[in-house]
Amino acid sequence: MPDSKDRLIRPFVHAGLIFWALVTGGPVVWAILSSLKTEDDLLSRPWGLPSKLEFSNWVRAWQQAHIGRYLLNSALVVTASVTLTMALGAMAAYALARYEFRGRRIVYLGFVSGMMFPVFLALVPLFAISKNLGLIGTYHGLALVYAAFGLPFTIFFLTAFFRSLPQAIAEAAVIDGCSHFSLFTRIMLPMAKPGLVSVGIFNVLGQWNQYVLPLVLMQGDESVQRRWVLAQGVRNLAVTSGYRGDHGALLAGLTLSMLPVLLVYLVFHRKLQEGLAAGGLK
């Protein structure tokens, strides 16, 4: 009988799911708790609860490791680059999806082939170009590169999305005397909102997570280091606190850099998952 066998398997499946949930959540919760421990506690009882709450770790992470500044830098760059990606991407995708013109296919393929293009292939030329343009170590230089890497997928996704919108509404608007531009901004963009949200989330996460690009493009002296993004800041914190043996500050810095994302995730997790899954399925 298949039924009895199913009943035998079921507890194992559940145990497996719970186990994986613990493995996923465990280290994160542990890091947050440990960030409140004294250095003694960290050394002697890595597995236990804090014996008393120690907030000075957080202060050190904020003041000496400048986690706050790096968070702000990351937010600034990602805001700029995602805005740029979405604005350019939506306009390009709309034109490619809704207008017939010579060379449309070539332009589309040109954009989309960018998806195949790995970061590592571009690394050296990108560094040279940025250097020659004086963009190394600047916010706008980094944001421009992020936007360039974000565009191919954005255009690919949004072109498909604009194509799937009903033609009739656009025609009705044109008959009512709607111009091309207000057709785009007042009719098509609102209709494409679900698609825009999905691809927007995709871009924010992708660009927030960038590591190799800032590593290469934001190298330089003190003045550039002030503009480091979070990824570099956290890495640097790991290195310096390793030397100093200041693990409390490391964990506090980690917690501080996780918190904003954690909050956003708790509020929007359904939307995030839908957005990413839709992006993956296209």
Binding site: K5, A31, L43, L123, N209, V212, H247
Partner: protein, 190 residues
Amino acid sequence: VYFFPQVLAITIIAVLWQYVYNPRQGLLNGFLSSVGLVSKDAPPAWLSDPRTAFWCVLAVLVWANVGFYVVLFSAALQAVPREIYEAAMVDGAGQNATFWRMTVPLLWDTLQVAWVYLAIAALDGFALVNVMTGGGPNHETEVAGQTIYTAAFGDFKFGYASAMAVVLFLITMTVAALAFKLSRRDRVEF
């Protein structure tokens, strides 16, 4: 919960796990010594031991990525009409049979996408390796991206690094094409 690592920056994941693997203060050794599996005096140094470093980094890569595929597959599953499963139950199919003979074929398109993604992702892994081990100990965890990065921005051999990047690109494309080809199957309509 599964999905959460996906929204954490990969650097944060890397530093977090570096600390989990920390021989004296890490969560892993803390746990293992509290159940008596490792001694407190000679704790294993997971990331600097050439025998374990590679597998430790690999485990983190899995940890960070499982969530995305859980969400991807469950989104695809929701698109499958319930009636099909009910019909299978009425016909007396067990859970095993339902999974292998229905769920897998129905999700094949998604599985194929995931497979190609993974094939590409497997050739990357740079950020994690760079932060956690820097490719060490003794190149044990070095990935192609790390080699390219070191060649370009450590040794300033820009031409050599570019050549390696082109080779990596060709390999990635080949692997992706193979993954796509080998997983090709007839589409199940529903």
